[in-house]
């Protein structure tokens, strides 16, 4: 076992090495990469994927998957845009509105978890359904419109700065801290690892497997709602396309960071590295003049490469 564990430790450093190499190469090609302005740009691009990645990491650590990222985020962003000061109605709930949105996110995640656990449906199917239910509900609420957000506090998340970085970046770092605490210092965090490592064993050791799963999906839903708040702040609008492409970036970030899809191996810090790899690569491609539409394809290839490298084939006899 020690040998295997040592190998895993080296493997978990690989993403960080990739990140450093990537930064080095891009700097050589375009020295503008290392300016403070570009650093802020990278942090702005990274804040939403980071928050979404925190939620998705816990799910993937259990060996499950959550495809409802865009559903939760879009619904949250649209509901937020209708609750704070906006161009469509007289509501002005402010922070209370944000709280409601977090509850909505929790509700979406909780529903995922309950259907998954109680009806014993594989998570990818439940969350595939929820993806479209969420986006569909957002569409139904909007009725084809987009709602402008005029709330100075929400807009401030993207515009106002503290120590040179937008408040949204600090919110994202706060989420990282919360996720780290949950992962390392709570029973839920340890149970999630136990489930991913071997569910039968976890159940036999008395871990309430079903409850842990439902809690993890609920937690993920809250993170997606925070992502929705940040996305609405960044765009200044609540519209139904606000989530497009975010599932892809999120899953890329988590698996590129080295969290294994088979569960049990990985961490939220690795997801931070994964997010930075994805964002830095995108930023570098922009600096080199590669059209943004190529990035989705590159991310797709990164998913395949990262999963192929990190999968523990000995543990998976049948791959479906």
């Amino acid at each position: 076992m020690p040998a295997a564990r040592r190998r895993w430790r080296i493997a978990s450093w690989a993403p960080l090495i990739v990140l450093v190499l990537l930064c080095g190469i891009i700097t050589l090609i375009n020295p503008n990469f290392l300016t403070f302005g570009n650093l802020v740009r990278i942090s702005q691009a990274a804040m939403i994927p980071l928050v979404l990645g925190m939620g998705a990491t816990f799910i993937i650590l259990m060996g499950s998957i959550d495809l409802s990222v865009e559903g939760g985020l879009t619904l949250s962003a649209v509901i937020l845009s209708m609750l704070v000061i906006n161009g469509a109605n007289e509501n002005a709930f402010g922070l209370f509105g944000v709280l409601i949105v977090l509850l909505v996110g929790a509700g979406v995640g909780f529903t995922n978890g309950v259907i998954h656990v109680r009806l014993k449906i594989p998570s990818f199917m439940v969350t595939l359904g929820m993806w479209f239910v969420g986006v569909g509900a957002a569409n139904a609420l909007l009725g084809g419109m987009a709602i402008r957000i005029n709330d100075p506090m929400i807009r401030g998340l993207a515009i106002e700065r503290f120590l040179g970085f937008p408040w949204g970046v600090w919110v994202a770092l706060g989420c990282l801290l919360v996720a780290l605490v949950i992962q390392n210092y709570t029973r839920l965090g340890r149970y999630i690892y136990a489930l991913g490592g071997g569910e039968e064993l976890a159940a036999l050791s008395g871990i309430p497997v079903g409850r842990v799963r439902i809690l993890a999906f609920t937690l993920a839903g809250v993170f997606y709602a925070v992502g929705g708040v940040l996305a609405a702040a960044q765009l200044g609008l609540g519209n139904a396309q606000i989530g497009t492409g975010r599932l892809f970036t999120t899953i890329t970030a988590v698996v590129v960071g080295g969290t294994a899809l088979s569960g049990g191996q990985g961490s939220v810090l690795q997801t931070l590295v994964g997010v930075l790899i994805v964002v830095v690569l995108a930023n570098g491609m922009v600096l080199m003049g590669v059209p943004p539409s190529v990035q989705i394809g590159v991310q797709g290839l990164m998913i395949i490469a990262a999963v192929a490298l990190s999968i523990d084939r000995k543990r998976m006899r049948i791959v479906k």
Binding site: G63, F132, G136, P291, I304, A308
Partner: protein, 319 residues
């Protein structure tokens, strides 16, 4: 709740449930909207179902093996873009080229899944991204409308034969090929065997990997064909042309009674499923449900159908 589910799952009921649902839905919509049962309306319904059915047919083979293909909508869109871009210069060869691209994409998905041992949902999610990106780049992120001269090549899609729209005939040909593949070839029997129990199939000497790759090729080439038919019907190609079709396609397969755990299912069930989805869509449009909000219904229907059809004894640990 559970006893109700058990009743629904008992084999006799489960087998006929989709067909009964379809008949009830048709009667329901027909009562509220008598014009719906008109021959022309029904032919229109069949034409509207054709694309969905072709997409669902391909993915049925993958689901029968216990996998999933989340890249079909991107493949169909890419195929529409490729046809729209090359039709003027290469004529009918454009269709062959688009179809060939589908075969290639399916081959790559299948190899990534089987050789690299990546779970199919993630391999095809990633492949879908690559295909979507390719469609965006080649189309320069816009929709391409076909000119008058190019539309001349689309007669085999837009025309009618003895009063039956050609799209319906194309869909029927796909149905016939799929039926033969499923019930008259080794591939069909091996698929059923792999879906029913992969280790047993492997131990009996079935070349599991090759069958799986073939299923992904079928899925992606059906998607490419669906994209071609879409170009014919809309006279344009775009990188997002089919993006709303993933959910209804998978829902059609599952609603028809094919189980996502593999082994149980058939192309006829997918036909029934696709018709159910179409009738539900018409019913909702009739009731004035927003086209995007319809996804809420399809999402719920998908999960409900999975809950009824899934074979829980096959997955001791549900992840």
């Amino acid at each position: 709740m559970n006893t109700m589910l058990d009743t629904l799952r008992s084999d006799g009921v489960r087998q006929w449930l989709p067909l009964v649902t379809l008949v009830i839905l048709v009667i329901l919509v027909g009562t509220f909207q008598p014009a719906f049962l008109d021959v022309n309306t029904l032919l229109q319904l069949a034409s509207d179902t054709a694309v969905l059915f072709i997409l669902a047919t391909g993915v049925t083979f993958v689901i029968m093996l216990g996998g999933i293909d989340l890249s079909i909508q991107s493949m169909a869109s890419l195929s529409s873009v490729v046809v729209a871009l090359t039709l003027a210069r290469y004529g009918y060869a454009a269709f062959v080229f688009a179809f060939g691209l589908g075969v290639l994409a399916g081959l790559l998905s299948g190899i990534a899944h089987v050789r690299l041992r990546i779970p199919s949902f993630i391999a095809t999610l990633a492949m879908g991204g690559v295909l979507y990106s390719a469609a965006l780049v080649t189309s320069r992120e816009r929709s391409i409308t076909l000119g008058e001269s190019e539309r001349a090549y689309l007669g085999w899609i837009t025309g009618t034969l003895f009063g039956i729209p050609n799209v319906v005939i194309i869909a029927l040909i796909v149905l016939a090929i799929a039926h033969v593949l499923q019930s008259r070839t080794p591939f069909g029997r091996y698929s059923a065997a792999i879906g029913a129990g992969e280790p047993a199939a492997y131990a009996s000497g079935v070349k599991v990997d090759r069958q799986k790759i073939f299923a992904f090729v079928l899925s992606a080439s059906c998607a490419a064909l669906a994209g071609i038919v879409l170009v014919g019907r809309l006279a344009s190609g775009s990188p997002t042309l089919a993006s709303e079709l993933l959910l209804p396609s998978i829902a059609a397969v599952v609603v028809g009674g094919t189980s996502i755990t593999g082994g149980v299912g058939s192309i006829w069930r997918t036909l029934v499923g696709a018709l159910i989805i179409s009738v539900v869509r018409i019913g909702m449009t009739f009731l004035g449900v927003n086209i995007f909000a319809q996804n809420i219904v399809f999402g719920v229907v998908l999960v409900a159908a999975v809950a009824i059809t899934i074979d829980r004894s096959k997955i001791p640990i549900v992840k």
